[in-house]
Symmetry: C2
Subunit: 113 residues, 2 copies
DNA sequence: GCACTATTTCAACAACTGTTGAAATATGAA
DNA sequence: TTCATATTTCAACAGTTGTTGAAATAGTGC
């Protein structure tokens, strides 16, 4: 991921309603969710939802497919993945331990033998 | 980190000049860098730089201290750290392996037996 | 075809953002 | 004190963003 893409993805997530939409789609997982269901969950007027979904799609954070009269939106984990890598590389001196506690081996493995 | 903070931090990074400034400060490390040096490196007019540094500071991404007539800005890794955790939790289903390749144990285990 | 549902498009508008240059402030040196 | 340097403040301005509601489009079923 290059800088302009990172700026676009960060900008797409840097807004209240859009962060809500994206988190909802993350929860929904790979199968996604119809636009109407998102609108109902978040109480967003349909035109506002379309506006935000467009921006998420332009940033590569969601995919759309039609199913009958519904449009199914789903989170793109690969883009999120690329953003996390970009931030780790560019904004954490490439040293995950500086910014990513998750990178600790952690908890499960008893002992590395 | 809560949602409004995450939105603020994402917004602070979601801009060309600011992402440049922050990356430069990450490179500079804990000792930071005087504003003038940043302005020179990135060829930003001083008033524009102040504007962007203010936003980074409001988002908690940099600290400032005075040294003589210079203002020394430094990246706050703890805030970046908190953002990474927030994104991993809220936008990757809390499953780092979905979005954080670094978190994969990776490569070493021959076979899951 | 007509009615019905799901979603997008469009225009309007207030609010916010990023950039600029000139003036103000703060510190240090002579 | 006066001069020079480092940075911030301020006002102005064009451009972008988010929200709204009404109208348009696309698909389904009768």
């Amino acid at each position: 991921m290059k800088k302009p893409d990172a700026v676009a993805v960060l900008g797409a997530l840097a807004q209240d309603s859009r962060l809500d939409v994206f988190r909802l789609l993350v929860e929904a997982g790979r199968q996604g969710m119809p636009a109407g269901h998102i609108a109902a969950s978040l109480k967003l007027p349909p035109s506002a939802l379309t506006f935000h979904l467009d921006r998420l799609r332009e940033a590569g954070l969601v995919t759309v497919t039609r199913d009958g009269r519904s449009m199914i939106y789903a989170a793109r984990f690969d883009t999120m993945n690329a953003l996390m890598s970009y931030l780790t590389d560019q904004c954490c001196q490439g040293r995950p331990e500086l910014c990513v506690p998750a990178a600790k081996p952690a908890r499960r493995r008893e002992k590395v033998r």
